[in-house]
């Protein structure tokens, strides 16, 4: 067949395309580097000028007067996050077990998209529901103002459900059928087979799900602002208000300037490092098993 002999031009074009795609592919690295540069550039100097231990463990946060201690916020973040996990993870596991092991196919088909829909709801809407429903409930039945660690944990717990459920569900589904049959053949009831055999087998996937849920909870900002009370205190009870690292940044960024603004970037640095470390620790736990 007679063909145009564009051989060299074609080869050059293909090389150019590959080079172009390579550059595009490095965009994610580029963005990550830029983020680290910009956030750290603004925030790190003030951490050290204040003093690392003063910044991290100091309890006085009066940025307009030059006091930058973010310990209350660190505590707030940790409490709210682990509260969310405490509430969200057991529920997610129960739901995942039911959907994966015991539900009828029709139920599964309806529930899965439903839960995915829950994931699509913007976080501010959850915050709104938190203010309208959860906060008054806590106030009337448990005391305090309602704006509390507990309210935030409840709300975040619900928000992380879709994430944790879907990954846990996938992990359970990935366990080979032979495991179930083997357990049942040894006389275990379906529930025992699930708890004693299937769940452990899906362990690494479940830990991944929890890690992701934890990341989501730690990073949530606006919804937490709406229900957590935002007082800069170290909460000694779940009914006390608290302020998280994320809320701290969002609340004050609008009017902060100079050192104050830098301190907020520094808060971002601490958050960044915390999430990074927690991820590494959790991944290491998964790898070891």
């Amino acid at each position: 067949m007679p063909l145009p002999e564009q051989k060299n031009g074609l080869r050059l074009r293909e090389k150019r395309i590959r080079a172009g795609l390579l550059m595009i592919a490095f965009s994610s690295i580029l963005v990550l580097t830029l983020i680290i540069i910009f956030v750290f550039k603004e925030g790190v100097p003030i951490i050290f000028s204040t003093g690392l231990s003063v910044f991290l463990f100091g309890t006085k946060w009066a940025p307009t007067k030059g006091s930058f201690g973010i310990f209350p916020m660190i505590v707030g973040t940790l409490q709210v996050t682990f509260g969310a996990l405490l509430i969200g993870v057991p529920i997610s596991i129960m739901v995942s077990i039911y959907l994966s092991e015991f539900a009828k196919p029709l139920t599964r088909k309806i529930m899965k998209p439903l839960i995915e829909l829950l994931a699509a709801i913007p976080s501010v809407v959850f915050g709104f529901i938190g203010v309208i429903v959860i906060v008054p409930f806590v106030r009337e039945h448990l005391g305090g103002t309602g704006f509390s660690v507990l309210s935030a944990s409840l709300m975040l717990g619900i928000m992380i459900l879709p994430t944790v459920i879907s990954i846990t569900f996938d992990s359970l589904q990935a366990v080979p059928q032979s495991y179930r049959e083997g357990a049942l053949a040894l006389g275990a009831t379906p529930w025992q087979s699930t708890i004693r055999v299937i769940l452990p087998a899906a362990r690494s996937g479940i830990v991944t799900a929890v890690i992701l849920g934890m990341g989501r909870a730690m990073g949530e900002t606006m919804a937490v602002i709406m229900v957590a009370g935002n007082a800069v205190v170290i909460p000694t009870s779940p009914l006390h208000p608290c302020r998280t690292l994320t809320s701290n940044i969002a609340l004050e960024m609008a009017y902060a300037a100079g050192d104050h603004q830098k301190a907020l970037f520094a808060t971002g640095v601490v958050l960044f490092v915390m999430i990074f470390l927690l991820n590494i620790v959790a991944t290491a736990i998964v790898k070891r098993k």
């Binding site: 067949m1 063909l3 145009p4 002999e5 051989k7 074609l10 080869r11």
Partner: protein, 269 residues
């Protein structure tokens, strides 16, 4: 009987395809000794014929085919020795553009596969890439190719239908038509009928016999009876080596090597 009608008379003295001491070994990253896929294959294929390659699985037949249209190096690179000549040109030389080669040498896979587009678009896919344009020209090409593959009558009224909706046998004929649209000199077929029912198989065999004068066919097949039905020449591969090759009638009735005889008579397979 079909075998009697096959009179192997090569058109010229010049082979269309020639391999010289062709060897190939896959490159594995796991280390350890790797057996070669092909060892010292030298054969000649003449234009206007159907050339069958038979042999048990893992003998290197598919690898051999994929080296001829340089498909092997894309996904499963390895170490190759020896040469392959198409019309006396070394297809692995730096001057020979692999894309050009793949238009001269068509390929049909074992699994019937259609591109997710209309039948018409399937056929003109290759020609369009080669720069052929113009509605009349393409229409003519489509009819010609589908006719050659004995598929025209069945689909001529529904050329815009998505080709994935065709049956397996129709898809395979479509694959052949798709390759034929580029008017290749050589058509390679890698066990084209392995997934087809007997009627579709007969259709494909009919096609090969009809096109061979214009497009030489190299057919890898696990089915020795098929080779005897359609091939002018046959080669027997066993564990990476070429054991014997020659006119099909001779190979089947009076093979020189005992192993050939054993394989054809079904003593192993």
């Amino acid at each position: 009987m079909i075998i009697d009608t096959l009179q192997p008379t090569p058109n010229t003295d010049h082979p269309l395809l020639k391999t010289e001491h062709l060897s190939f070994t896959y490159r594995f990253r796991l280390g350890g000794k790797v057996e070669p896929a092909l060892t010292d294959i030298s054969l000649e294929i003449f234009p206007g014929t159907v050339y069958a390659i038979i042999g048990p699985s893992r003998s290197g037949k598919s690898t051999f085919l994929r080296l001829i249209n340089r498909l092997q190096e894309i996904s499963n690179p390895g170490d190759m020795e020896g040469k392959i000549f198409l019309e006396n040109k070394d297809i692995y030389s730096d001057d020979y553009d692999p894309n050009v080669l793949r238009r001269e040498v068509g390929f049909t896979f074992d699994k019937p596969q259609a591109l997710d587009m209309s039948i018409y678009d399937n056929i003109v896919f290759g020609p369009r890439l080669a720069g052929i344009s113009g509605k009349e020209k393409l229409d003519e090409l489509v009819e010609e190719s589908l006719n050659a593959a004995f598929l025209w009558d069945e689909v001529k009224d529904r050329l815009t239908m998505n080709a994935t909706r065709l049956s397996g046998g129709q898809k395979q004929r479509l694959s052949i038509a798709r390759s034929l649209a580029l008017k290749p000199k050589l058509l390679l077929l890698d066990e084209p009928c392995s997934a087809l029912d007997p009627i579709s198989t007969a259709n494909i065999e009919r096609t090969l016999l009809a096109i061979k004068s214009r497009t030489t066919c190299v057919l890898v097949t696990n089915n020795t009876k098929q080779a005897s039905r359609v091939a002018d020449f046959t080669a027997f591969f066993l564990m990476s080596k070429l054991i014997e090759s020659g006119p099909t009638t001779k190979l089947f009735m009076n093979p020189s090597d005992q192993r050939t005889d054993d394989f054809i008579s079904g003593k192993f397979g």
